[in-house]
Amino acid sequence: MDTSNPAVLVNAELLRMYVGRKVRTVVQVIQSDGEITTGKSTDERQLIIKGLPDVSPMSHVEVIGIAESEQSIRAEIWTNFGHTFDTQSYNQLCQLANGEFIGLFM
C-alpha cells in the first residue's frame, strides 16, 4: 500500500460505496487476458480487475487498489492467496468491518 490511506475491506456489493477510494478484496480468478482479469467476488458477483498479471484460473487473489467503478478495481498490490480460501468467512468479515465494527477498521 503505497499511499497512507487505509484500504477498505469490500466485496462486490460494498464496492459501489467506495468508488474512487482505496479498497481491498479477494476474488477468484475466472478469466485473465492480459490487462483485464475477470474474477468472482466473495459474494458471488463478477468484478473486473485491471493491471493484474496472468494468474491461473480458480486461484484466489487479494487485490488492493483504487475502485474505478462500481464493478472494477485498478490493482496496485496483489497477493496470490492460493486455491484454498474461505470466501464465506471473508465475505462476512467485509460486512462486519463496514457495518457494526467499522470503528475498528476505519
Partner: protein, 277 residues
Amino acid sequence: MYGSQFDGSAAFSGGGFMPSQATQAPDSSFSPSKNRDIQSLLPLTVKQINEAFLSSEDKSNFTIDGVDVNNVTLVGMVCNRTGRVTDVTFILDDGTGRVECNKWVQESVDSNEVEGILDGMYVRVHGHLKGFLGKRSLNVFSIRPVSDFNEIASHFIDCIYVHIYNTRLRKPQGGVTTQPQIANSSSTPLKGYQAAPPNQFSGQHNVDGQKSIEQMVLDFLQLPSSNVDEKGVHCNVIANQLRVSADKLMLAIQNLVEEGLIYSTTDDFHFKSTING
C-alpha cells in the same frame, strides 16, 4: 468506637456492611484488567492501536476498550524493511493503518527469523506496544510469514471478537459499583444518618426493630426543638414522644452513645445529638 461494643458493630454492620465488605475482596480480584499479574495478549488492528488511550501520563501504558494493553498481535504487510546490525525495522500495514515495528537481532535465532521477511509479505507479529512522545511503535518479539491466507481474515475476526468481549461481555462487576457507597457510609456514619439513605440501611438491619428506634431517637434529637436547651432532652421525654418503652430506649441510647452520635450532658438522663447540637 466500633470495636469496643461487639453488639454495636453487629447492629450496624451485621445486616449489610459485613457481607458487602466480605464480598468486596473477591470482586476486586475479578477485574483482571487491573491485576498486574495477569498480562493479556490482544489481537488488534493498527487503527485500534492509533486510537488507544494512554492510561496515565507518567506510564507509557495504553488502554483499549478498558483493558490494559501489554502484548499485542497483528497481521499485516511488511513495508520499508530496513536491516541493521543490531535490529530490523519495518512498517506494518494491515489495511487499517501503519505502525512502526522494531525487532532486535541479537542471536542467530533472531537473524534466522527475520532473514526471510521481505517487503510485500504478509506476516504475523507478536510484540509489545510502546509509546514515545505520542508516537506508537511495536517492539516485536516474534515475526513469521503467513502461509495460510485465511489467517488474515481470522485475525480480523479475532479482533472483532475480543473487542466485543472487552466492551460488552466482561461485566463491570455490578456489585462493586454499589459497594464503595456502602463502604463510605460505614466509615462516615455521621453522613449516613442524614435524610433518606440511612433509612435504607436501617431498613435492611431492621431485624428486631432496635435499629429503627435508634433512628427515631436520633431524628428526634436532631430536631431544632430538641436543641433549644443546652441540656438536651431527658430520656423520659424522648420515651413519651416516641412512645417506646424505657428498656428499648435505653438500649438505643446506649448504642447511639457508643457510636458517638449522641452524648449525655448534665446527668445520665439528658442527651443531645452530636451533629446538630
